[in-house]
Amino acid sequence: MHLAHYLGLLHRAQVNLADAFRQVADAHGDEPDIEHLCQQQAKRCDAHAEQLHPFATRYSEDAPDEPDRLHSQLFSGTRTGGIGLLRDLQDLYLMAAECDIAWTVVGQAAYGARDEDLLAVVRRCEGETAIQLKWLRTRMKAAAPQALVVAD
C-alpha cells in the first residue's frame, strides 16, 4: 500500500506551505493584509499537517520504500516590490494547488482504504485549502494591473 507516501507528500507540502506563508508575511510587512492573512493561513497549514501526522505514521508501518522524485521544491525565497509580491503570491498559489490536488488524491485513497477517520480529515481540510487558492487569486487579480501596467 502506497498511501503512506502520498500522505507524506501532502504532509510535507503543508509544512512547506506554512513556512512559505510565514516567509512571505515577513517579507511583505508593508502590505498589512498580506502579512496578517499569510500568518493566519500559515496556522491553518500547521493544523492540516498536525491532523495528517497520525495517519502518515499509521500507514507508514506497512509501506514499501519511498519512490524516487516524490517531492518537488516550489519555493526558493521571497522577492521585493510590487511585481515581487505578485510572484511570491504566485509561488504560494502553486504550492497551495499542490496541496489541493494531493487532498483529492488522499481523499480518493481514503475511500479505497475504507478509512472514515482520514476521510473526515480530508473533508475538513480540503475546503480550507480551496479558500487559500481563492484568496490568493483574488488578491493577485486586484494587484496585477497596478504592478504590471502602471508602476514605473
Binding site: D30, E31, P32, D33, H36, L37, Q40, Q41, G82, I131, Q132, K134, W135, R137, T138, K141, A142, P145, Q146, V149, V150, A151, D152
Partner: protein
Amino acid sequence: MVDRIADPWGERTPYGPGQEWPVRVDRFLDGDRTEADVDRWVQSASVLHSNGDALDIAVADGRIVGVRGRAVDRINRGRVDPKDLYGWQANHSPDRLTRPLVRDGDRLVETDWDTAMGRIVARSKELLSGPGGWGHFGFYTTGQLFLEEYYALGVIGKAGLGTPHMDGNTRLCTATAAAAMKASFGTDGQPGSYTDVDHCDAIALWGHNVAETQTVLWMRMLDRRRGPNPPAMLAVDPRATPVAREADLHLAVRNGTNVALMNGLLREIIRRGWYDRDYVDAHTLGFEELCRVVDGYPPRRVADICDVPAADVERAAELLGTSRRLLSTVLQGFYQSNQATAAACGVNNLHLVRGMIGRPGAGIYQMNGQPTAQNTRETGADGDLPGLRNWENTAHIEELARLWNVEVDTIPHWAPPTHAMQIFRYAEQGSIKLLWITATNPAVSLPDLSRIRRILAKRELFVVVQDLFLTETAELADVVLPAATWGEKTGTFTSVDRTVHISDKAVDPPGEARPDLDIFLDYARRMGFRDRDGQPLIPWTGPQEVFEAWKECSRGRPCDYTGITYEKLRGGSGIQWPCTEEHPDGTERLYTDGRFNTDPDYCETYGHDLATGAEFTEPEYRAKEPQGRAFLHTVDYQPSPEVPDDDHPMLLTTGRTVYQFHTRTKTGRAPQLNAAAPEVWVELHPGDAARLGIGEGDLVGISSARGGIEARARISGIRPGVVFVPFHYGYFDQDPDDRTPRAANELTITAWDPVSKQPLFKVAAVAVAKLADGRGVPSPAPTVGGSAPLADAGVPPTVGGPTARATSGKE
C-alpha cells in the same frame, strides 16, 4: 430655555408602542435674535452626523443666524442635535479658505482659480498620456458632500479617467455596514426604518454609542423608554456610555471579540428554540452550517473570550430570544473592530433566524457614521459601483456604459474598486502620483499618522485638497481648493434609513469659494472628457441636472430615486427610497415579503469568504440557487492582528464625544461645542489608574508600536485593561512650531477587515504611563457621555452657559 451643552438630549416627550413620536421643535438663534429677526428659513438637513435630521436654516441680512428643526419630518419631528444647533457658526469662521492656494516650495500661496485648476489639469494630462495612465490617479473623498457631487465625481473617475482608485472616508465609517448587508441580503440598503423605534419591544445596540453619535435617534429611544410598555435594552460596549448606563443589560466585552459573542448568542437562541423555523426554511440559506459553527461557542467559552460573565451571555440571549419586535443598531464598535463584517453579519443572522425583519418594530440599522455616507455608497464614489451594481456582473457594467455612452472596458471592472488603505499604499509606493482629497482630513483620521503624513508629503505625489479650511491635510497639499459648504450650495443626501432630503442654498459662499460640484464640473470641462460620440461626457451645469441623471442611473436598482424630484423634497418630509411611479411616497421597509435581493442577476456581490476576503465566482454563486433567500454567514472567532503583550499591555479604543465631529474642522470652530470638549483626554478604569499611580487630570503618555501621544486622564467607567482616546484632536489649532502629539491615530494600527476593508480603530495594543501630576485640575474630558467621571469624583459638570441657550417647543 435649555442649555443643550449641559443636556444634549433635551426634555423627554414620552410615548408608547405604536404611537406617533411627539413633535418637539428645537431652535437656536444667534445672540438675542428672535424668529421675528429672521428674514427667511431655508430647508436643509444635518451634516454633522448620520441621522439625517431635517432642519431649516435661519437667514438674516444675508447671513446664517441659526437653525430650527422641521416638525414635519419623519426622522426628527423637530428635534436638533446640539452639533447642528451650534455648528453652523463654523461657516462664518474668519479662517475659511476664500482663495485657491498653490505650493511654492515650502509655502502655500494664494492664487486664482485658473492657475490652481491649470496646475491640476496640466499634471492630469501629463499622467494620463502614457500607458496605464489611469492608474496614477487616486481619489479620496468623503461622507459629507452631496449626492450630486459624488455622482459627478464617480463618472469623472470611472468613465473620464477610467481609474478604479476612488474611495471615500466612508471606508472608515460605513464600509462594513454595506459589506454586511451585501453579504446577507444581496445588496446594500437598510432593511429598517427609524419608526421601528416606535413599535419595538427590545432594542439591542451593538458597539453603538447612539447617545453621542446620533442624539436624535437616542431621544426617540429614550422617549420610548420613559413611556408606557418601554422596550428592553441591551448594550454591547467596552465603555460605560450613556447607552450602557441606560440599558437593562450591558455586556462590556473585550475589544475585538464580537464574533465570539454573536456566535454564542446565536447558539443559545437556536438551542433554546427561540428561532423561527418556518422563516428560516422559507427565507434563508446556510442554517446547517451556521449551527455547526456556532455550536462551538457555549456561554462559558464566550465568557472566556469576551471576558464577560457567562450568565450575562445567557441573559442577553433570553432578552433577544424572547422579544417579539426586536430592533438592532450596529456601529463602530463592530465596524472598526476585528472581524468586522463577520460580526455585523452576526446581527443580520440573529434577525434572520428569528424572522425579525421587514415589519414594524422588527428592524436592523447597520448605521452610517456620516451624514451623506449612504450616497457615497449608492453613487459609486467609494468602493462600490453606481446604483449598487455588481462589478463582477458584465451586464451591470454594460448598463453603466450605455448610460454614459462609453466603451464597456473604459469602466474599470477587472477587480473591485481600490479601497482607501490600498490607495494610500500605492501612493506610498509611487504608482499613484496624483491624489485628490475632498472634504476629509486623512492626516488626522487615518491609522498610523506618521506614515500618512510621510506619504502626503512625498515630493513625487501631487496632492489636491478641496476643503473649507487649511486642515492638517491641506497643509501638505500642492493645490488647495476653497470649497463652499452646507448652506452655501444646493443638493440632496440620504439618511441611514434611506430618507432623502434636500439641502438648499441659503447664503453665498465666502470669497471665491465654490461648491464642490462646480469644481468637479470645471475639472471635467477643462479635461475635455468625451463620450463615444465625441460629445462631452459630463454635460451638466448644476445640481438638479445631475440629480435627474442620477435618477436614470438608479432606475430599477434597490436605490431607485426615479419618483423623487427637487420639488417633491421641498416643503414636506424627506422621502425614503425606493421611490418610483408605483411607490410615489417611497418605501418604509425593505424585505417585507421575506424576498431578498440575492438573485444572481440583481445582487451586488457574488460573495466572499469572511475570514480571508476570497471572492466567490458567478458560477459558484448561481449554484447556491439563492432564489430570493438571505444568506446566514458566520465564521469562527479569530484574535485581532494585534493583541496586548508585555511591552504594550493595554488595549486602545478610539471614538467620539457628542460635542465634536470627526477632526473638528467645523465643531472645533463653534464656540459652545469647542468649549465643551476643547482638548484630548484618555479614559482609564479606576483599577488600572490606581495600579499605574494615575489620578484624575494627570498627564499620561500613551504609546504603541507606531507612536506616542500625551493626554490628561479621566478616570471613568471603562472596562479594565482598556483605554479610550477620542480621535477628534489634531493639530490645526496648535502653534505649528510647538505641536504636542495628541492625535489618537498616532497610535492605531494599519490593518483592516478582509471583506469590508474597514481599518481597525478599536484594537491597538498600547502602554500607558504617568508623565506629570495634574495638581487637582481635572482632565478636559466632558462630564457628559462616555467620558463621565465616577460619581464621587467632584469634577465640575460640563455646561454651555448663557451663549448656549436654545429653545425647545412641544406642540
